[in-house]
Subunit: 252 residues, 2 copies
Amino acid sequence: MGTTQLETVPEPKYWHLKTVLSEALDSEFTVGEILPNERDLAARFGVARATLRQALEQLELEGRLQRRRGVGTTVAPPRVGVAVGAEQHAWPGAAGDVWQPVDCTLEVPPAAVAAALETGEQPVHTVRRSRTTHGQPVAAELLYIAASSVPELSAIDAPSGAARARAVLRELQRLELEGQENAVELGSARADDAKELDRLPGAPVLVVTTRYISDGHTAALSVATYRADTCRLTFGDPGGVEIHHDPERRAS
Amino acid sequence: MGTTQLETVPEPKYWHLKTVLSEALDSEFTVGEILPNERDLAARFGVARATLRQALEQLELEGRLQRRRGVGTTVAPPRVGVAVGAEQHAWPGAAGDVWQPVDCTLEVPPAAVAAALETGEQPVHTVRRSRTTHGQPVAAELLYIAASSVPELSAIDAPSGAARARAVLRELQRLELEGQENAVELGSARADDAKELDRLPGAPVLVVTTRYISDGHTAALSVATYRADTCRLTFGDPGGVEIHHDPERRAS
DNA sequence: TAGTGGTCTAGACCACGAC
DNA sequence: TCGTGGTCTAGACCACTAA
């Protein structure tokens, strides 16, 4: 990474910079290694710090770098593959579920959720769960369950907490699951999700929305927020071998 | 959107700004409507243009806005749902495939692709396809097919072009498809993909990687690049119940 | 306390699209 | 040609982490 000059090219500086840095990451750095700080890097390439940051931001978006305030910029490990929608015909909380219940309250959900659950202004069971891989938090979930889906629940004691979450999920298993519908889209982390995922608010996340269908209606709705920088979501037939694909450097 | 002041709060200005703008979009703007330009907006909120842009960038990332140089910033329509991995047990190019062949060449693929296909330094059939919804381009694909997977192809005339692409895909159907493996991750658009998707290079994309497995090996590898701003990827088993997704915006 | 990345400013010029 | 968003600069200060 000894290069100092940037030729005058029609392409943006930060783009060129990103390419140069990307190649340097491949050839001169190892996973976990810490990079020079932004001010030094900017000076070395003869650009303003903001321009250097634009390149770093893209590399972080692609999962190549990890930046932490007060610490520095490090080379990120390859993204981890996490299976979603694998338990294609099981309710959340069924045996083998990788999610860990955290809390459960009774709340009036956002309008879009209420519309899907057809619950109007009624409060619904709102279960918070988290998911970790290799000890690292990778996803936070909000699971909305219509009160009518778990009618036997009123007898249960705990008004909230993980115990209640487990109780609600246990009741859910009694229903017959007809099918589920999944969707993935790009989003940015809300403040609470960001905290749980150990990221700053606004960090890019992959939002997986799952609709659990029973008796022709949406009995439960899951909104799971995965760290986009560290995760590769896998779905469908679990074949066997795992490949890592780099989303940017696949050019010739 | 007449507000002019921003209180002194511990949260970043751009974050607050984003919230204010988001609410204004819901209540005071309609899809396709054009916003005031960045300089005016920044002045109206009493912030520097760069700060205003930080807020706009996030809203664009979330699919709420669309910005085009030389034109302006408009309110984006809700994301369109596009099905991926739906033809769970069919080769690309099979009947009903939504992809449109564009070109086909014989090239040495990137190292990661070569590793998956186990082709070493050998060139592979590289099919370029595109996908549109409602007349808009939503995805660009590079489909790599090991030469050994379509051995009967040498007799075919066209050395490249859409005709050859169709020929290669036709040959592919002769193999028995054992299964496929899907993954989705966040990436940024390469220059060529960006052009086809009508975006700037570096724009956020959802990269869907599909491995087609035959005879215990990876016979073909698809790398599909979807516009992250306009697409919501749907996958999995609809359970026979086809539910029309409500156009209502997801809660945040 | 020192050093890091995160936020913010007030400018400037450029590339592109529409007129 | 004009207005738009895109890029870039050279600073400043803040929030956080670790020593």
